[in-house]
Symmetry: C2
Subunit: 366 residues, 2 copies
Amino acid sequence: MFDYRVKNAEEIPTPALLVYKAAVAHNIRAIGDMMGGYARLRPHIKTHKMSQIARMEMDEGIDKFKCATPKEAAMLAAIGATDVLISYHIVGANIGRVVDLKRLYPDVDLKVIADDGDAIQALSDACTSAGVSLGVMVDVNTGMDRTGALPGAPSLALAQQIAQSSGLCFVGLHVYDGHVGDFDADMRQKTAFESIERAVETRCLIEQSGIEVEKLVASGSPGFEHTQRVDGVDEVSPGTWIFWDTGYGDKLESPFEWAALILSSVISTTRADLVTLDAGSKSVAPDTPVPHFRALGLSDEIAFVRRNEEHQLLQLPEGTPRPRVGDQFYLVPRHVCTTVNLWDEVCVIDEDGMFVETWAVDARGH
Amino acid sequence: MFDYRVKNAEEIPTPALLVYKAAVAHNIRAIGDMMGGYARLRPHIKTHKMSQIARMEMDEGIDKFKCATPKEAAMLAAIGATDVLISYHIVGANIGRVVDLKRLYPDVDLKVIADDGDAIQALSDACTSAGVSLGVMVDVNTGMDRTGALPGAPSLALAQQIAQSSGLCFVGLHVYDGHVGDFDADMRQKTAFESIERAVETRCLIEQSGIEVEKLVASGSPGFEHTQRVDGVDEVSPGTWIFWDTGYGDKLESPFEWAALILSSVISTTRADLVTLDAGSKSVAPDTPVPHFRALGLSDEIAFVRRNEEHQLLQLPEGTPRPRVGDQFYLVPRHVCTTVNLWDEVCVIDEDGMFVETWAVDARGH
């Protein structure tokens, strides 16, 4: 197992989010090995939201990105990314932000997704007024029911509308298959294939209508390994792999290392069996069932007694040596994407296990 | 009811956290009315984390603050607050940060809390080396078991240690009575009194030993109304009242208005009964049981179907008119403290219901 101990950990004010450069580099190499290179990989940066991590990805040859917010897109454009997909439905005042971004970075291939005729019309009007052209992908609902047009005729109609709209360029199809979450590998593969099949059929339908489908982008971390091998799929866009977490890691086989951990200190021990850490719901995302993290070096039998904004009260199993105030623990988050989003900056741990610098989570917010 | 509609809401990119200046001003006046002025109020700023809100509080006469992190304390010192209590146990590298803060702002009456002999010793060593003096309050555990020394002899021993430590000045006692959460008013009053009684007895014990107890600071939002009337209590330190939320507001009688709401847009309607909002767990804190918010103008019968980082999927009761993509909803958070912490900035709504400017949540992070 990766050695997470930081040699100069006593210099780090806790709680702190640590990012291990060696583990990030390992994960970037590992996904390249899985996919035979980066040609079909469009990583989702909502997990890290950091220009420094995006740069590490670009330095290894990753040349296209997916993101969720205009702010993430702006961060990518600012550091020289040339192919950016905002896989989000742009409505209201966000239309102006995206159009401004395209105007500011005319050479960036900027794309958004859409599943609604009126929203496409509003986007077209804004692009036409501004004299810019924006790529648009039809978001297809292949079973998750969260967003997306139904496969087949409804998606075809939107593709036709986009293709005929001034200021817009129809790029292809986008699918997020978040319902592919079965932790049995065979079942997961089956659902992933069933899901993507609907999108590939829709792709054929649109192509038969005479509209070119440049690309089909699909899948997050649970499904991408299967989906990327399907004919008709051009790119997959997982996000969590860059840092990995126990939410996926405990259930999915993968070559990834945990690369973002919370360093936490004991701040109180009110009883012999209780320990209070300085890592509450403002430090580790509480959007999963308990436990929100795994504490390295602490038994899995600990009870998560009380969690507040800045406190996590743990009850230790009988016989566990009582930690002392000031003792540090390394916590692996269960959901790393929302955990990173809680932090303004991360403490970077270099290849020698030293805390050397901080990096901004510069695309936090929307 | 307060009118939350923003006249120029279409200019606000969503999701956005709105802060209503008129509601904030109302809440500041209301708590002053409840407490007969601000002499006994030390508001906890962890709820808002904003210098602009702290300035509104100071402009009305609030002259002392409580906070949870060194960053919050630094923000308060930077805007001219002269009395700042970090109600947190300072260990490890945070000792250096707090000492540096005292050195940078020697005229600020800066205090921390402690419940551990070794931690007090480390604080004393650092202050002595730096040639500064820091106020320290003994944190007393009156029943919550999260942090704090036991009342009576253990707390007395810590008070004596602090009083004898160079570089430290014993200030008094701190109690957080988060176990006082009963939503029955009589029961809550009873628990609040029982809890604070233990601290008041400890105060007497310390005074009898010849050590002056300058102040006893206690209570958050559920208990402060009762606790503030108890002899031997000098100050109360509620936080949530400044913005209020449905978590407390639905259960406690109070004069407060909701002052911080999320503006959210419909981004998709995949079925006639489903609506997808752009307010997921990166916009509204997920650290409460569902529902994480109440949507003004939407039935309380909505089902919270699926929540992801940037999406909230709602199922509408039969017969509800289907909202359109782009429609906006105002969401009252169930837990406003952790919700504010998700945002880098807020959209300020002025007394005329207009979005006029943004304010930074400048003490985000630790």
